[in-house]
């Protein structure tokens, strides 16, 4: 979806606000939101791509006004309700519905101590042939899907070179909508900065993007 989350190439957001000696969490609630988001994800009622897409649906005014952890709080609430883990009435009252039964949390302190268990890898062992080879010239397709995509707007219709084949990963554009994993190769593609931004860029500079097979066509 062409949305404000797709920031690459915008120039109107002002200077970067750097905080010296920044704490990991600025308030205790931020850490709790982060942790709840991890723990609730372990119910596997939604996947990472669906959760990213949910965040992309936030309207632009809210997206810019809310802090990162505010957005995470909103997303967690929305996904928890959408998936049926909690109801709106329960969130409003802060109390479980009388008929609700007590579950057993799937995310334990042992999981918490091992970030490797926080989320499943998107890499797949499927035997899928690559459509492109290292060194090949490719062009990012000019697609504008209304759903989730990880092909940033600034790279669309631009030409680059396959730098590396990372192997096979599930495809976020379908996985976000529970339309299957569609495993395929992901490549590191080098785009020259001049191809992306024109003459104002230095000729030797570049941007590397990781691109799924379905994002590319031969140049």
């Amino acid at each position: 979806m062409n949305g404000v989350h797709d920031r690459g190439g915008e120039q109107d957001m002002g200077p970067i606000q750097y905080e010296k000696d920044e704490p990991v969490f600025h308030a205790a609630w931020e850490g709790r939101v982060y942790a709840m988001n991890r723990a609730m994800g372990a119910w596997r009622k939604w996947n990472l791509d669906a959760s990213r897409h949910n965040g992309e649906l936030r309207n632009p005014a809210d997206y810019f006004r809310m802090s990162y952890y505010e957005r995470m709080f909103a997303g967690l609430t929305e996904l928890s309700v959408k998936s049926g883990l909690v109801t709106l009435a329960e969130i409003e009252s802060g109390k479980p519905a009388p008929e609700s039964t007590k579950a057993t949390p799937p995310f334990t302190t042992a999981d918490a101590a091992a970030p490797g268990r926080y989320r499943a890898s998107a890499r797949r062992q499927a035997a899928v042939s690559p459509r492109f080879a290292v060194g090949q010239q490719v062009r990012a397709r000019n697609i504008n899907p209304i759903g989730h995509t990880r092909l940033p707007r600034y790279a669309r219709a631009k030409s680059g070179t396959i730098d590396r084949d990372h192997g096979v990963f599930l495809f976020p554009d379908t996985n976000a909508h529970y339309l299957g994993e569609k495993p395929q190769h992901v490549y590191s593609v080098r785009f020259s900065a001049r191809e992306l931004w024109g003459e104002q860029a230095k000729p030797q500079d570049s941007v590397y993007l990781d691109m799924w097979d379905d994002y590319l066509e031969p140049a």
């Binding site: 989350h5 969490f25 309207n59 632009p60 809210d62 949390p105 970030p115």
Partner: protein, 231 residues
């Protein structure tokens, strides 16, 4: 699926009002976004609900916070970098198979399973960003700082990396090649900074103490401490 643009102006006009009056009845309706009036209270209320329903274990939440406040952070990445500076064989492995080399030091996990380490030299400068969200190599350097997740950084890092670096106080010579790594897939990137000149006599531990988070994202170089400062 919601198209979100519909009602954007209306939502913008009422955003301030929405802050004052959270409206969970419209949680599914993105024209009227859920905006908690007091996030600390709302978070507490949500946590107590989830705990009562048996959906989360509060001790596990404590442990997540503890992991990121005390165990996983830039010190881990700094040890990786210092080892690479100290041990050429380790450096070769790190650049060829980042995940394997990092696992050798005991760090692995989510967003670290597929990690590529890119080396800064006198001729090449690497910079990491995620223009679509906040992807970051957190098993090695912890959770990203606010500026890394900010719209300003994510917008300009790809179109004007040299300008962004100047804002961080790093002016690159014109002839240096800048490579920006936009980590929009499930690969994660870590910059292996240039070892500072004059650090030949330092121990691996002393080297690790010099390596900053910013250097491992590529917005700073690693510097020796001022003369007279204690290592």
């Amino acid at each position: 699926m919601n198209t979100t643009r519909r009602g954007f102006l209306a939502a913008a006009a009422t955003a301030a009002g929405a802050t004052a009056t959270p409206d969970f009845a419209h949680a599914e309706d993105h024209d009227h976004q859920v905006v908690p009036s007091d996030l600390a209270l709302r978070t507490k209320s949500l946590e107590s609900l989830l705990v009562e329903k048996g959906l989360v274990d509060p001790a596990a939440l404590d442990a997540v916070v503890d992991t990121f406040e005390h165990k996983v952070g830039p010190r881990n990445g700094a040890r990786v970098v210092a080892r690479a500076w100290f041990d050429p064989a380790y450096k070769r492995l790190l650049l060829a198979d980042g995940a394997a080399a990092i696992a050798e030091l005991g760090y692995s996990g989510a967003q670290g399973a597929d990690i590529r380490v890119v080396e800064n030299t006198a001729k090449v400068h690497n910079l990491i960003v995620c223009t679509l969200c906040s992807c970051y190599p957190w098993p090695v350097i912890g959770l990203p700082p606010v500026w890394y997740k900010s719209a300003a950084y994510r917008s300009r890092a790809v179109i004007d990396p040299r300008g962004v670096l100047r804002e961080f106080g790093l002016v690159l010579p014109d002839e240096v090649e800048v490579r920006v790594w936009d980590s929009t897939a499930e690969l994660r990137y870590l910059v292996l900074p240039e070892r500072p000149a004059g650090s030949e006599q330092l121990s691996e531990e002393a080297l690790a103490a010099l390596v900053t988070r910013d250097a491992m994202v590529g917005v700073a170089k690693v510097a020796l401490p001022q003369k007279g400062a204690r290592l």
